[in-house]
């Protein structure tokens, strides 16, 4: 089949797929964690100010 890649050339595609997966998951995990901590710190600080 035209364009089909075999042999060791396939590893570049495998590594690209895994690297993209790691990068995207790490980015969304890091962003969600930071946003959650910031919001909860703000909420806690406001509650302390009220009491």
């Amino acid at each position: 089949m035209t364009g089909v890649i075999s042999g060791s050339g396939q590893w570049a595609y495998v590594v690209a797929a895994y690297a993209l997966t790691a990068l995207l998951i790490a980015a969304v995990l890091g962003h969600s964690w930071r946003a959650m901590r910031k919001a909860e710190r703000r909420s806690d600080a406001l509650r302390r100010d009220r009491t």
Binding site: I25, S43, R50
Partner: protein
């Protein structure tokens, strides 16, 4: 279920659960990725590229599972007005879109060495692309969903329009699932069904690890985003009370 409608009760469970899901998800994902890359042999016909299966399939399942959960949340909000349902739907949308994009990207990377093309407008790929656009539409719809508090409605709930959109969008899920049966496709047919798997057990087991790892991490992301929305809502409510107190001279 209504027992957990109270955000305080929900947080009592979500706070200790978040680090467990994060830790277990990371360990399982790393173990599955290591097994998929270094332990199992290459596939007889596709060679090494078949290893992309261990990240592509969980991403696809979570992209579709995410919209299913989003539609259920929309239904729960419409029917029972469960306070956490709208918050859950908002929290699911971004990771759902991310895993759908990841499925499309890894599928494209897998397609080039296997089919000789990055993309083909066939049923499976096109319906998955439609799912990505549905997520984008839902995020845009809920971001602009009345003013104040970062574009969120009071209490984090969804508008009726957003909830209906989530339900209507669910029609795409069975279409994605059956697309490789209904239409001719470069994409392979269903290899894992309720009746079993056509993939040999020697190649299949790392998929269980990555599937669990992805699912736990997806759960951790959703819990973190729900906690952020609840904290933002509390800040907004307190600021409103403060403004009311000052307005009434208390």
């Amino acid at each position: 279920m209504h027992a957990y409608a109270n955000p305080t009760r929900f947080l009592a469970i979500a706070r200790p659960l978040t680090p467990w899901l994060l830790g277990l998800g990371t360990v399982l994902l790393l173990a599955g990725a290591w097994a998929g890359l270094a332990v199992v042999p290459g596939e007889a016909k596709q060679g090494e590229t078949a290893r992309i299966l261990y990240v592509h399939v969980p991403a696809a399942w979570l992209g579709m599972g995410g919209w299913t959960a989003l539609a259920v949340s929309g239904l729960v909000q419409l029917v029972w007005r469960h306070p956490l349902a709208g918050i859950a739907a908002r929290a699911i949308a971004v990771p759902g879109m991310l895993f759908t994009a990841l499925c499309l990207a890894t599928g494209s990377i897998w397609g080039k060495p296997t089919w000789g093309t990055w993309w083909e407008w066939d049923g499976r790929m096109t319906s998955m692309l439609v799912l990505l656009f549905l997520y984008a539409g839902f995020i845009a719809l809920t971001m602009g969903d009345t003013g104040g508090n970062g574009g969120q409605r009071q209490g984090g709930s969804l508008s009726r329009g957003a909830a209906v959109y989530a339900l209507v969008g669910a029609i795409n899920i069975p279409i994605i699932n059956r697309s490789v049966v209904w239409w001719n496709s470069l994409h392979q047919g269903p290899s894992i069904t309720v009746r079993g798997s056509s993939i040999d057990g020697a190649l299949l087991w790392p998929l269980g690890l990555t599937l669990l790892g992805f699912s736990f991490l997806f759960g951790a992301i959703v819990l973190m985003r729900m906690r952020r929305i609840i904290a933002d809502n509390r800040v907004a409510a307190r600021l409103r009370r403060l403004a009311d107190d000052e307005g009434s001279g208390v």
